[in-house]
């Protein structure tokens, strides 16, 4: 079933005559989960608003379920909007109690009271805010407010759901379990969801397609795995956490692998590129292994870069290690391995990665 719920054709949105979104084409299929990634101010919220028919493009067409949206007809817009629901980035609650806030969308749709109550109850329960139901929304904690905002959108059971960083203020365990539950709900109900987030884990956890925005344009769309492990541009690479980007130039091919001259080091990478092209060798940090000395690292299809530990940063499950050397490399090592290697700043290490774990990115002007 490749039915499109929403399509954008050559649309642009401006604020005060500044173009903040310019998308030649984007289509969202029924039932899919599309995650928007992009730096602050790149246009995620604006894209969600456009898809939610809340801003009017200055150019182009928005197609909803095959019907071109007429932004001039308030009545039709309202009908279409009632098939969707959105959670805004800020939890903008009304000066009512929590229950009334959650019931708003149902009230707007004229649902009979008893049914509305029942659905509200279910979602209050699900988001663990039942105990807050008669609290004025103005004195909730940040996370409680976000849960209320989330319940408010979920409760209307829409065809299309827009979520703008819906979990940002939630505590980690809740976020984790909610993400899981969310994924199940979406899979069960066939709801189409479009999701803006800054959390790479969330994007991967949701498992749908990912669209990366840069400066108001959609620069790469693909499966989460593809975008995260094979970003097509240097800026996307940096954004999805592919921090090792070694500039070089293709010298030729050997043994099915492209040979890249990166100044002090020569690297081998899978791919199909022509000699002479300027490229980056891109590697995800978790694909890079660290070793005490070079001896251990051998074999074809394995690249080695030497250097010194510049910085180590602890993270929840691992350590992030920056290495300065022939080429700057960022690796992620497990806590166990970190202990084994007893890494210290200034220590000399070898970083290795498989030829098939790296990929090449075109290096433009710079």
């Amino acid at each position: 079933m490749n039915e499109f719920v929403l399509e954008l054709h050559d649309v642009a949105v401006t604020y005060d005559s500044r173009t903040v979104l310019d998308v030649p084409h984007l289509a969202v299929s029924r039932g899919e989960v599309l995650t928007l990634l992009g730096e602050n101010g790149s246009g995620k919220t604006t894209l969600l608003r456009l898809l939610g028919l809340l801003v009017r493009p200055i150019r182009g067409r928005v197609v909803f379920c095959g019907e071109e949206v007429d932004f001039g007809s308030a009545r039709r817009l309202l009908e279409l909007r009632r098939r969707m629901a959105g959670v805004m980035q800020e939890a903008l609650l009304c000066r009512m109690n929590v229950r009334q806030n959650v019931a708003l969308g149902l009230r707007f749709r004229g649902l009979p009271k008893p049914e509305a109550q029942q659905r509200v109850d279910a979602w209050l329960e699900r988001l663990s805010i039942s105990h807050l139901d008669d609290r004025p929304a103005s004195n909730l904690s940040g996370g409680e407010a976000q849960r209320t905002s989330l319940a408010r959108a979920m409760v209307v059971d829409p065809e299309v759901l827009f979520l703008d960083e819906p979990f940002a203020a939630l505590d980690a365990p809740t976020r984790q379990s909610l993400l899981q539950e969310f994924k199940d709900v979406l899979a069960d109900s066939g709801v189409t969801a479009i999701f803006a987030t800054h959390d790479r884990g969330e994007a991967l956890g949701l498992g749908g397609r990912v669209a990366v925005l840069v400066g108001g344009g959609v620069v790469q769309v693909g499966s989460a795995e593809a975008v995260f492990s094979r970003p097509e541009r240097a800026d996307v690479a940096r954004f999805v956490g592919v921090e090792t980007l070694i500039p070089g130039r293709i010298t030729g091919e050997a043994g099915g692998l492209v040979q890249v001259d990166c100044g002090e080091v020569q690297l081998e990478v899978e791919g199909d590129w022509e000699a002479g092209e300027e490229v980056y060798v891109a590697v995800r940090p978790e694909e890079i292994e660290l070793h005490d000395d070079a001896d251990h690292v051998v074999g074809p299809g394995r690249n080695v870069v030497g250097g010194r530990v510049a910085k180590t940063v602890p993270a929840e499950t691992h350590f992030r290690v920056e290495i300065d050397g022939a080429a700057p490399v960022v690796a992620v090592v497990s806590r166990a391995r970190y202990r084994d290697l007893a890494l210290k700043t200034g220590q000399s290490v070898q970083a290795s990665f498989a030829a098939r774990a790296a990929h090449l990115i075109q290096r433009a002007g710079d």
Binding site: R49, G52, L54, L78, R81, G86, M88, F108, S138
Partner: protein, 232 residues
């Protein structure tokens, strides 16, 4: 000062004796001003919402007009309404002059800009993102405005209080278009003025106090509601 004291005594005795004429006048005041405020709300709130949210050519000018309306002297309103309602005027055939209807009309014209202007200011204070959020939840235009009015219930109640206060206390226009006719168009303010002109200051003060007490009562109820919702 003694006068004021006598006025208070007189006011109490008028009230306690349940003087039917004073009661009738007080009720008429309430009725007419209440009706005028209500009508002004019915027209002023949607119009205020329009001015707050819609951008259209001539909007700035309209806003200025409305705001100017808050400063139009009621006597000028009275004069215009009179001219229009005169037998010789364009609406003379309605025979509305010197009737309670004329009073409501004049008071409506006085309260309308107050309520429109304050509604506009209240609604403009709203975060535009909340508008988007509500639209995103499927609010129709009317539902949107209804929720936003509830959001701004504090300044909206202030607007109602200000509008009602402006008309219940008005005398010049009411005198002109109503004629201060006993039993028909005499309200508390015009009665107060009449008694002052007659030199019956005690009675004037008594009537003024009764008006104050009435206004206090109504305002108290509205304020109670206003401040209770301030708590949330």
């Amino acid at each position: 000062m003694e006068l004021i004291w006598n006025g208070i005594t007189q006011a109490l005795s008028l009230l306690l004796q349940g003087n039917p004429q004073v009661l009738e006048i007080a009720l008429l005041s309430l009725e007419l001003s209440g009706l005028a405020t209500l009508v002004a709300l019915v027209f002023g709130v949607p119009f205020g919402a329009l001015l707050a949210f819609k951008v259209f050519p001539g909007r700035g000018f309209t806003v200025t007009l409305v705001n100017t309306g808050m400063g139009v002297p009621p006597v000028v309103v009275g004069l215009f309404v009179s001219i229009v309602l005169w037998r010789s005027g364009p609406l003379g055939f309605l025979e509305l002059l010197y009737t309670p209807g004329a009073i409501v009309l004049a008071q409506f014209i006085i309260a309308f800009p107050v309520i429109t202007g304050l509604t506009m200011a209240a609604l403009q204070q709203i975060d535009p993102k909340l508008l988007l959020q509500l639209k995103g939840l499927g609010a129709s235009r009317i539902q949107l405005v209804a929720v936003l009015l509830w959001e701004t219930r504090l300044p909206m109640l202030a607007a109602i209080i200000a509008g009602f206060g402006a008309v219940i206390s008005e005398v010049g226009a009411v005198m002109m278009v109503g004629g201060n006719i006993l039993g028909h168009t005499r309200v508390l303010t015009t009665a107060t003025v009449l008694e002052t002109r007659r030199g019956n200051f005690e009675v004037a003060i008594a009537l003024g106090l009764i008006l104050l007490a009435l206004t206090f009562l109504i305002t108290w109820l509205l304020t109670l509601f206003q401040q209770r919702s301030a708590a949330r």
